[in-house]
């Protein structure tokens, strides 16, 4: 419950965001593989949820029944979650540096069986929102007031199951479920609008009966304000379309490589050094 009691101020959150970014870069460079750019776009959202007072959890008791749940449906961005959980005290920063190594529970995609505190094993895209519906329904039956937050990728929105879930969540008026779409604009082979253009997420999701907001998801103030607004809506599911940039925080460093997508690859040790220096 620590997080809610000790919600960080915007200024403190911004500092924490830098800490998360450093960890993301360090762990993926150390691993020699992974998805730093997809992790970096979601930092402000994950940061606000874990440290801005929007989720109740207890790092010392990860199975606490009334905890809020965080599902990273875009499981490849798991370094941002490992970074946040390390900062929240679930495990040490040193532990996280074993990312993707044989024997480490810090797998390339989240594995709830091996790592307490992970709420869903994801990695096959499209399933997180449905898992969130199940957890939200379970919380309702258990009458424990738990909220569920699901972070989905914009490329992931191409999965039909997400749209099944959008309809299903509305049917049960899940006011304890919040979906955040990390719209960083890129997926594996290129820009999301070129690969499979789904048009306006806000219009489509609103048409399913959800409460919707579209924000600059790399602006910490906007993210906090949007989560604040969403927390007051309790009669239907809520979506935040979080427009972000893949690799946000170290964009000039990545852009200098000539690859504006930078999908699914770590920074070289030299590039990581530049990025860490850039972050300050």
């Amino acid at each position: 419950m620590a997080a809610q009691a000790n919600a960080l101020s915007i200024e403190e959150l911004k500092e924490k965001g830098k800490v998360l970014r450093r960890l993301i870069i360090r762990m993926t460079t150390e691993a020699g593989s992974g998805h730093p750019s997809s992790s970096l776009s979601a930092v402000e959202v994950v940061n606000a949820l874990w440290f801005g007072g929007f989720m109740k959890y207890d790092a010392q008791n990860p199975t606490w029944a009334a905890r809020d749940r965080f599902i990273l449906s875009k499981g490849h961005a798991v370094p941002v979650l490992y970074a946040a959980m390390a900062e929240a005290g679930y495990f040490s920063v040193d532990d996280v540096m074993t990312l993707r190594k044989l024997g480490s529970p810090f797998e390339g995609h989240p594995n709830m069986k091996r790592l307490p505190g992970i709420e869903a094993s994801t990695g096959s895209l499209g399933q997180g929102l449905s898992l969130g519906i199940g957890q939200a329904l379970g919380a309702r039956l258990n009458k424990n007031g738990a909220n569920v937050f699901v972070v989905i990728g914009d490329g992931e929105m191409g999965e039909g199951q997400v749209w099944e879930a959008l309809a299903g969540a509305e049917k049960y008026k899940l006011g304890n479920l919040t979906a955040i779409i990390d719209q960083n604009g890129y997926q594996q082979t290129g820009a999301t609008k070129d690969v499979l253009d789904l048009g306006s997420f806000e219009e489509k999701i609103a048409a399913f009966g959800w409460h919707t907001q579209t924000i600059n998801g790399n602006c910490q103030e906007s993210v906090v304000a949007a989560l604040e607004t969403a927390s007051k809506i309790t009669d239907r599911p809520k979506a935040i379309i979080s427009q972000t940039k893949k690799g946000y925080g170290i964009l000039p460093v990545l852009e200098a490589t000539g690859d504006s997508n930078f999908h699914g690859k770590p920074l070289s040790p030299e590039l990581a050094e530049k990025a860490l220096a850039y972050l300050g």
Partner: protein
Amino acid sequence: MYLGEMSGLKIGQATRDAFGDALKELGEKYPEIVTVDGDVGNSTRTEVFAKAFPERAFNMGIAESNMVSVAGGLASTGKIPVVASFAAFLLCNAYDQIRMSIAFPGMNVKLVGTHAGISIGEDGPSQMGIEDVSLACSLPGMVVIVTADAVSTKAATAAMIEYEGPVYLRLGRPNVAEIYTTEDTFEIGKANTVREGDDVTIIANGLMVAGALDAATKLAEEGISARVIDMHTVKPIDVDAIQKAARETSAIVVAEEHMSHGGLGSAVSMVVSQANPVPMAYVNVGDCFAESGDPQGLLDKYGLTAAAIIEAVKKVK
């Protein structure tokens, strides 16, 4: 003529009906049971539970992928979700969701595939789950159960609820012969020898257990003593019962209402080939899809009969 008639068995409830009744009874005892449906609850019989416990029943609509993952989420809050649909839609449509939302995290979800096999009849091959056992067995850690009659289905339903972990229970549409009485026991992973015999062993599950008993009755008239084993749990399979059969009888015939690959036949042969190998023969749908037709006509045409089992026995005996 129906499977079981030659051995004097009476036709009882369909396994899906027995499941529906059992689930409602278990719902009283286990408040954590919930159902998650894909809008076929009146076919799978989860509607019996849903009427008794409406607040614990979730119909997610014709959206099997969502349905299965929702169940995974519910399980992670301590619920015991029972997900029921036609075997073909549950296993084939939502396979990745079963893999990632249930099997991989080891969720305590009970998957129930009804309308399995070709005995559903007129609706035809699109509705016939003939590969579901193979698919379910291919998921690490998944328990796979195929029941033969109403009594054992009720017992299996209770056993799967009491078991902690993912289970697939395969059920059929038609009324089937009564093999067991309530005196008989059911234990996951422990086969039931429903007829003793020394010359040959017929290992079957589902409605083919009745067919195997018919075959054994007929074979006895010809002086061939056939043991019949109901291998209701395909995974984890009862290795001891199979090895004992291989040691004590000279051949094994496997009969199942499934296509030729990856089902009970494959599971049994993997055991037999490792110790005391004996000649084996297989009775199943084959490597093909079936067609529309009346159930009995389909069983006859696709060789799921006592006669087919007898023929197989004579091939290896």
